[in-house]
Point group: C2
């Protein structure tokens, strides 16, 4: 619109415009986030790839945070800064044809101050740009409760607490349905990944195994119908905790790097170690390379930790935790008659050995009848869901909607 009407002073005009915009913002537009044409921006950090939304026209006035036991994940929207109008008011946003991007970042929950500082900065930048509707923080995960008072006080904005499980399911649904090249399977022979057509496998029922510090297993029977059917305390926190006691690795990624170089047979007791090689236990479906007892060789060797290689210990523990999660996931899937299992959570970190072990376990136990799916943003299901739940109502969902 042209603000330069004769007979009206400029400051009056801009005030009218602002009032008009703020009236519009009072109730979110029915199309409030356009995901059509969404595209993962390649060549970025492995698990913090931005997602470009070229067709989004609506302004975004919220950020989302998912504060788990070990990690806090943050998601915010950035307008395309190559737009000349990018630093002007909402009005120019309304007509911008550049879209924007979703940015993902994570912090260790033990360093929650850094996370809050980052959020404060986002909120200040947002406010500085123009006289906009104030930011809303969509918060989920246990920390949304534990740190609710701190966030409300220190950020001085509205904090909306969203249910952790609901957010996981909303996030999964939109990742599967609306983000191309997000979901993939791993070939257990070739170790190659193959992307899945969006939607093709979002059919119900399916199961989400979310592996963070601990493990939650959810059965999903519809876009917003789900049930927590199980879990396990043996998750990422167990691997990270034990490896921080048993190795010098100081980060999750160092631990995963270690495990790549290791040989678990140096610490695990294999079936062949108990029976000797090539004797008659195959009838129980056991190969002599099968792990009979994780860390089973350690005690009988009567050595101490410095006599075992950290990489072998890391490999063994990664296999133990991954195998165990795969087995428990399979048993729940079978109990609930589910064929398609999505694995999410920051435990996986797109680490090939972990995904291979999980896939192998599912294929092995299910006799090839079940499928294991992974997501490139596997650690961000909850925060993506919390972000998308902003203003969701029956008549007001992101585009395209989930059917």
């Amino acid at each position: 619109m042209d603000a330069k009407k004769p007979g009206l002073r400029h400051n009056q005009i801009s005030e009218e415009i602002i009032e008009q915009v703020e009236r519009q913002l009072a109730k979110p537009p029915s199309l409030w986030l356009n995901l059509t044409g969404a595209k993962i921006l390649e060549n970025e950090g492995q698990d913090t790839k931005d997602i470009v939304l070229p067709n989004n026209r609506s302004q975004v006035t919220h950020i989302a945070v998912d504060i788990g036991g070990s990690l806090a994940k943050l998601l915010y929207y950035v307008r395309d800064t190559s737009s000349p109008s990018s630093s002007s008011s909402e009005i120019s946003d309304e007509v911008s044809d550049r879209g924007g991007r979703l940015s993902f970042v994570k912090f260790e929950t033990s360093k929650i101050d850094e996370c809050l500082q980052f959020m404060k900065q986002l909120i200040q930048d947002h406010a500085r740009e123009s006289r906009r509707k104030p930011i809303t923080v969509m918060a989920t995960g246990g920390g949304a409760y534990k740190f609710y008072d701190r966030m409300s006080k220190e950020l001085d904005v509205e904090v909306s607490r969203e249910d952790e499980m609901e957010c996981l399911i909303v996030g999964l649904n939109y990742f599967v349905s609306c983000i191309p090249q997000e979901v993939f399977v791993l070939n257990t022979e070739t170790y190659e990944m193959a992307f899945q057509e969006t939607r093709h496998d979002s059919k119900y029922p399916h199961m989400l195994v979310n592996i963070g510090s601990g493990v939650s297993i959810l059965k999903v029977t519809g876009p917003s119908q789900f049930e927590r059917i199980g879990g396990s305390s043996l998750g990422g926190g167990t691997l990270w905790g034990l490896l921080s006691l048993l190795t010098q690795a100081s980060s999750f990624d160092e631990m995963l790097e270690l495990s790549k170089k290791g040989d678990n047979a140096a610490v695990d007791m294999l079936v062949g170690d108990i029976y000797g090689k090539n004797v008659g236990y195959e009838r129980f479906g056991m190969k002599d390379s099968m792990i009979a007892s994780s860390f089973g060789k350690v005690f009988r060797e009567n050595k101490k930790s410095d006599e075992f290689l950290p990489e072998d210990i890391a490999r063994s523990l990664l296999l133990a935790v991954s195998n165990n999660i795969g087995q428990i996931a399979y048993l729940h899937a079978q109990k609930h008659n589910v064929k398609n299992i999505y694995f999410g959570g920051s435990f996986i970190r797109n680490h090939v050995q972990t995904m291979h072990t999980l896939t192998y376990a599912i294929k092995f136990w299910s006799n090839q009848t079940m499928n294991a799916y992974f997501l490139r943003h596997e650690g961000y299901l909850g925060v993506f869901g919390a972000f998308l739940k902003y203003a969701i109502s029956e008549s007001n969902v992101p585009v395209p909607p989930i059917s």
Copy 2:
């Protein structure tokens, strides 16, 4: 019989007798071991209690060994030495009214030489006593294959290899049916044990979860009908191996003692640690004292192992392994529609905390519909089964038989 017949020289007589005895021994008597009136001898070592067989009249000319990945268990029969005829020949055995006892002993598999030395001694004592039928060694467990050649050569006796799973089932059946005060349940509120009437719960189907270095799960549908339906590599070897790396404990029992003094909340991430106290996650059936992530506090505290108490680490790991086994056992029991679960294997060692955790897990997951049973000789199922399988045939079973 009276050997002093006129007209026969004594050495002739004794030769006749010996020939006669040896003819009898050529095929085992149809009643070859009488378990009626069997009684556990109290006030002995916790998991090596002898079993008295007051009514056994038949001679026993075999011993049994079960060589697992971590432990080798030995079982042998000792005639009641208070009998004046105890050191005389088989004939007086035939009419002895003193019975005898079953003796249990165990060795670390890594010290297999000690075990073989002990067996050699038993065999020599047996031979010295009289000119008897030579000893047969009934061997089971993986070591029956791995050490078969060594046993045959060094012991110079017949070694009969018996299937590991079959022996577990035979041993379980006879313990449950014929040994009073062997099987018990643990009350999760009072921590009291209550012995089960023999036979009362041997009805089929039931499940055996045998926890040695690793875990085997067997479904039992009849006296000798069973199927291995699952297992886990997270068993005793995992607990012992990791604790030998993380603590100074040098034996299984030291590790269990340590765990009694520990507080797992110092290393485990509880639901309350993630959400804060008393917020709305009860709807998912989670209490704030529930373990969300085993060892989940360790990494975020960024401490090293010497900053955590070994007793807390031991307690946490014992709970983690026991909970996990309990959950996997429950999932298999539910899948196969089994209500009664027997837990065996040397992992348990009649340790109350372990049995409590296993029982609690079964009751919790099954919503009180399943039962967890334990055995005082839990580590000796396999060796007891191997011992009893000696000469078992359709017409020739221990008394009383298992129906």
